[in-house]
Subunit: 101 residues, 2 copies
Amino acid sequence: MITTLAYPARDEIDLVDVLQALADPMRLQLVRVLDEANGAIACGEIPLPVTKSTASHHFKVLREAGLVFAEEEGTRRYYTVRRADIDARFPGLLDAVLRGV
Amino acid sequence: MITTLAYPARDEIDLVDVLQALADPMRLQLVRVLDEANGAIACGEIPLPVTKSTASHHFKVLREAGLVFAEEEGTRRYYTVRRADIDARFPGLLDAVLRGV
DNA sequence: GGGAACGTTCGATGAGCATCGAACAAGCAA
DNA sequence: TTGCTTGTTCGATGCTCATCGAACGTTCCC
């Protein structure tokens, strides 16, 4: 986890922030890919129909909402879904959202 | 249910639309009040810190997202959460959201 | 060292949305 | 009929946000 970036603590994760973060088709897709992937994924490994600056923006929104963590490895940043934190704070929410069509 | 208004059928309810509708503090509060109330509630019965035109707009968003139904009774419109439809389409979603802090 | 790859940040732009006031329609009561 | 209540619709306004291109800092590799 990159400590220079800001993440909300588990108890600070806000429901409206999470819903707003998930209420975007691209970010919802990102969370789906990250959650299905067993382990961390770099931004660049996920094919996106947007510029890398736009992708970076979406990752920032997910980070600041408390949905993902970032880990540095070289020039790459690997992202993981904060499953335990989200599940603890909003039980069943992520499952319901990711199961949804 | 007022047939002159447009509602998505159960199978047409879109996850992103639902998330976008819930990702607003006022609409989230509205859905909470409607869900906790046993039965239907008129718009005017819910105290809101906005104009009635703004409130009407939020109800329209909730309607078009498939979250609520409207019933007419005189000049009033009573709203109810489409529990069965939402639960059938996105099991556990509404419970997780409404349980959240 | 020089360059390539990766991701962030900044400024700008355009679209979408929350909000308001005013006008309107429908029903109810005196 | 005349008002009063309830809720919707319309136009305008201001803010937020998704998107892009360009510039920058890091890291890795030749």
